[in-house]
C-alpha cells in the first residue's frame, strides 16, 4: 500500500504557470460578464440608424456617435428618478428594519411555536407577485382608499407599504441566519448585565447586524428599484416611478434601442453604484449570515 514508488515530477515551476491559467480564466469570465453591459453602453451612444445597422458589440465610430439619447432619456426619466428614490429608500430601510426585528424576536427568545411562525414568514418569500395584483389593487382602493386619504401621493405610499410587506420575509430569513451565527452566550451575558430584550436589540443585536443590514439593504434596494409589476398597478401617471418611465421608452410599434439603453443605464445607475461601492460589504455580509 506504499505510495513511495510514485514518481515525483511536480516541481515548483508549475506553480506560476497554473496562476497564469487561473488569471486567464478569471479574465475570460470578466469579459463574459461585462459583454452584455458593454453592448448596451455602446448602443446608447449610437444614433438611431447606427444601432440598427451596426453590430451591437462594436463601438460607435464617426458619425454613428451621439450623446443625444442620454439627454433625451435623462429628460424623460428625471422626475421618475426622484419618485423612485422617494419610495425605494423608505421601503428598503423599513423592510430591512422590520426583518431584523422579526428575526430577532424569532431567534433570541425561546418559545414553542416559534419555528412555525418562522416557516410562515419564510414561505411568504415564494408568493408569485402576479397572483396578488388584483387583491392588492382592491385593497388599496376598495378597503383603504389611499389616494382618497392622502391625495395622489397616496399611491407612492401604497407602493412603499406593499414593498415593505413583501420584503419582510426574505429579510427575516437573512437576519435569522445572522443572529443564529452569533455567540449566544453574548446575549445571555447582556441579560445578566441587566439589559432588557429591547436594550439587547438596540445595543447588541442591531450594531452586530450591521453587516447583514448591508446585505439586505443592497438586496432590497435592487429588488424594489427594479420592480415594475407593483408599480404598474398601484401607481398612477403623475407619480410614475423610474421603471415605468423606462418602460415607456418601448413604444408599441417602434423600438428605440439607443434611447432605451441610455435610459436603462440611467435607471440602473443607482443599483450599479450600490454594487460597485458596497459590493464588498455585500459579499462579506452574506458570509456573516450564512445567507
Amino acid at each position: 500500500m506504499s505510495t513511495s514508488d510514485r514518481t515525483i515530477v511536480e516541481r515548483a515551476t508549475t506553480v506560476p504557470r497554473k496562476r497564469i491559467g487561473l488569471y486567464a480564466v478569471l479574465l475570460a469570465m470578466v469579459v463574459l460578464y461585462l459583454l452584455p453591459l458593454e453592448t448596451g453602453l455602446f448602443t446608447a451612444f449610437k444614433t438611431q440608424s447606427a444601432f440598427q445597422t451596426t453590430i451591437p458589440v462594436l463601438p460607435p465610430i464617426g458619425n454613428q456617435f451621439t450623446i443625444g439619447p442620454w439627454g433625451q432619456a435623462l429628460d424623460r426619466l428625471w422626475p421618475a428618478l426622484g419618485y423612485s428614490v422617494a419610495f425605494v429608500v423608505p421601503a428598503t430601510a423599513f423592510s430591512a428594519l422590520f426583518g431584523s426585528l422579526a428575526a430577532y424576536g424569532l431567534t433570541i427568545t425561546k418559545w414553542r411555536g416559534q419555528i412555525v411562525v418562522m416557516l410562515i414568514f419564510v414561505a411568504g418569500i415564494f408568493i408569485p407577485y402576479q397572483a396578488v395584483l388584483v387583491p392588492l389593487t382592491r385593497f388599496w382602493t376598495g378597503i383603504v382608499d389611499i389616494r382618497g386619504l392622502l391625495g395622489p401621493e397616496g399611491s407612492l405610499v401604497a407602493l412603499t407599504i406593499t414593498h415593505i410587506a413583501y420584503g419582510i420575509p426574505i429579510c427575516t430569513l437573512l437576519f435569522r441566519g445572522h443572529f443564529k451565527g452569533l455567540d449566544q452566550s453574548m446575549f445571555e451575558a447582556a441579560r445578566l448585565d441587566g439589559a432588557t430584550i429591547r436594550t439587547i436589540y438596540r445595543r447588541i443585536a442591531f450594531p452586530l447586524a450591521i453587516p447583514m443590514f448591508a446585505v439586505t439593504l443592497i438586496y432590497q434596494f435592487t429588488n424594489i428599484w427594479n420592480d415594475l409589476l407593483f408599480a404598474l398597478v398601484l401607481v398612477r401617471g403623475e407619480y410614475e416611478v423610474v421603471t415605468m418611465a423606462l418602460q415607456s421608452f418601448t413604444g408599441s410599434m417602434v423600438g428605440q434601442y439607443n434611447l432605451l439603453m441610455a435610459g436603462a443605464f440611467i435607471t440602473a445607475l443607482p443599483t450599479i453604484a450600490v454594487y460597485v461601492l458596497f459590493g464588498k460589504q455585500f459579499a462579506e455580509g452574506v458570509s456573516g449570515g450564512g445567507a
Binding site: 455567540d183 445571555e188 451575558a189 445578566l192 448585565d193 439589559a195
Partner: protein, 389 residues
C-alpha cells in the same frame, strides 16, 4: 455580598426523546465570600446548575436563594450576579471600556462619570487600563479573558459565576490566570462558583470543591479532603492525576484476592471489610513505594513504560509474572495487573527493569464493589502537618 443556598434543586429537560435529568436533587450551601469549585465530567450538569443560578434556566424543582431571597424565578437582568463565560462572550462591537460599562449602564443608575471611574478602577486592578479603547478582536486570548473578568468585577455583584473561564487559554497562561483569579477573589471577597473540569484548577483554586456526576452531587468539601477522603470511587478516580489505581478484589478471610494478586489485610482494613464479599481496592500512584524486598505488601513488578516529566516520573508497572496480553492494541481499560506509580524526577527507573513495589496498607482505599461508596480511606496519620526535614 451574600451566601447562596441551593436546596434540593432538580432540573429536567424535555427532549424529543424524553426527559433528561440534568440536575438531580442537588443541595449546596455556598457561604458568603466562599470560592466554590464545581467539577465533574462533561455533561454532568455543571453548566446547567450555574445557568439556573444565573436565572438563564428555569428550576424544575427545589429552590435557589441568594441571601434570604429565593431567586428561582427572578429574571437574569434583575439578579445581582455576574457570569464569566468560557467563550468570554465579549460584545465584539464595543471597546473594552464599552464592554465593561455596559452592565453598569443597564443595571445601575450611576452617572456617566461614576461609571467611567469604576471602569477605570477595575481596569487598573485587572491591568488592562491601557487596553480600554481597543476592540475585543484586537486583544490576545489572555487579554480577552482579563476583560471578561473585568466586566464581571466592575459590577461588584453579589455572586460571580464562572463557567470554565480559562478553558480557552494555553497552559502557561492558564496557570498564571489561575493564581490571579484566586487572589482577586480573595481580595474582593465575592461569593464565587467556578466550573471547571481541569484537575489543577479544581484542586488549587477553591475553598471547597463540589464534585458532580450524572447530575448528582458526589461530594463537597475542601480539596484535600476530597483527595484523601473521597466519598466514593467516582470521586477517588476523578480527582488526582494520574488517577488512583483500582482493582476489583474478593474478600477471602484476612486477605483480598484479586485476579492477579492477593493483598493481606491489616486489622484496620479487616474491620472495614467486615461482612463483605467483594470490594474495590484503590491506591494512589504516589503512594506506591519502590525498593526493598518483596513481602506481603510488596510485589515484584516489571517496569513497563516510564514517562519522565522532569520533576517526577510516571512509571507503568506490571506484576512480574504477568503474561503480556496487551500488544499492539491500545486499550481504554486498565489491565488487572497494571499499576501506575509516580516517583520523583530525581529517581530513575528504566523500562524493562524489575523492581519491588510496596503498597502500604496505610495508603489504601476500599470501596463498596457495587455502590462505589468509600468504606475505608487512607490513614492520614503519616501526613506531615508541619514543615518536614
Amino acid at each position: 455580598m451574600a451566601g447562596l443556598t441551593i436546596d434540593n434543586v432538580t432540573k429536567i429537560f424535555e427532549d424529543d426523546d424524553g426527559e433528561i435529568v440534568a440536575i438531580d436533587d442537588v443541595s449546596i450551601d455556598v457561604a458568603d465570600e466562599e470560592f466554590l469549585v464545581l467539577v465533574g465530567p462533561s455533561g454532568c450538569g455543571k453548566s446547567t446548575l450555574l445557568r439556573m443560578i444565573a436565572g438563564l434556566e428555569t428550576v424544575t424543582s427545589g429552590t435557589i436563594s441568594l441571601g434570604d431571597e429565593i431567586i428561582n424565578d427572578v429574571k437574569p437582568q434583575y439578579l445581582d450576579v455576574a457570569m464569566v463565560f468560557q467563550s468570554y462572550a465579549l460584545y465584539p462591537h464595543m471597546s473594552v471600556r464599552g464592554n465593561m460599562a455596559f452592565g453598569l449602564e443597564e443595571s445601575t443608575a450611576l452617572s456617566d462619570d461614576e461609571i467611567d471611574q469604576q471602569v477605570t478602577e477595575s481596569a487598573e486592578m485587572m491591568e488592562i487600563a491601557d487596553l480600554l479603547d481597543r476592540k475585543p478582536s484586537e486583544l490576545s486570548g489572555g487579554q480577552q479573558q482579563r476583560v471578561a473578568l473585568g466586566r464581571a468585577i466592575v459590577r461588584d455583584p453579589e455572586v460571580f459565576l464562572m463557567d470554565e473561564p480559562l478553558a480557552n487559554l494555553d497552559a502557561k497562561l492558564r496557570a498564571q490566570m489561575r493564581t490571579e483569579l484566586q487572589r482577586l477573589q480573595e481580595d474582593l471577597g465575592v461569593t464565587t462558583i467556578y466550573v471547571t473540569h481541569d484537575q489543577t484548577e479544581a484542586m488549587t483554586m477553591g475553598d471547597r470543591i463540589a464534585i458532580l456526576n450524572d447530575g448528582r452531587l458526589q461530594q463537597i468539601g475542601d480539596p484535600l479532603t476530597c483527595y484523601h477522603q473521597p466519598a466514593n470511587q467516582f470521586v477517588a478516580g476523578f480527582i488526582g492525576e494520574p488517577a488512583m489505581n483500582f482493582f476489583a478484589m474478593d474478600v477471602e478471610g484476612d486477605r483480598l484476592v484479586g485476579e492477579r494478586f492477593e493483598y493481606p489485610l491489616t486489622d484496620a482494613l479487616g474491620a472495614a471489610v467486615e461482612g463483605r464479599d467483594a470490594v474495590t481496592f484503590g491506591i494512589r500512584p504516589e503512594d506506591i513505594r519502590f525498593g526493598g524486598a518483596a513481602g506481603e505488601h510488596a510485589f515484584e513488578m516489571d517496569v513497563d513504560v516510564v514517562e519522565p516529566k522532569g520533576d517526577e516520573n510516571i512509571v507503568h508497572l506490571r506484576l512480574a509474572d504477568a503474561d503480556d496480553e496487551y500488544g499492539a492494541h491500545v486499550s481504554e481499560e486498565r489491565s488487572p495487573d497494571a499499576f501506575v506509580a509516580t516517583i520523583s524526577g530525581m529517581e530513575s527507573v528504566e523500562a524493562g527493569e524489575s523492581i519491588v513495589a510496596t503498597i502500604p496498607p496505610t495508603a489504601i482505599h476500599l470501596f463498596d464493589a457495587t455502590t462505589g461508596e468509600a468504606i475505608h480511606n487512607r490513614s492520614l496519620d503519616n501526613v506531615d502537618v508541619s514543615p518536614v526535614e
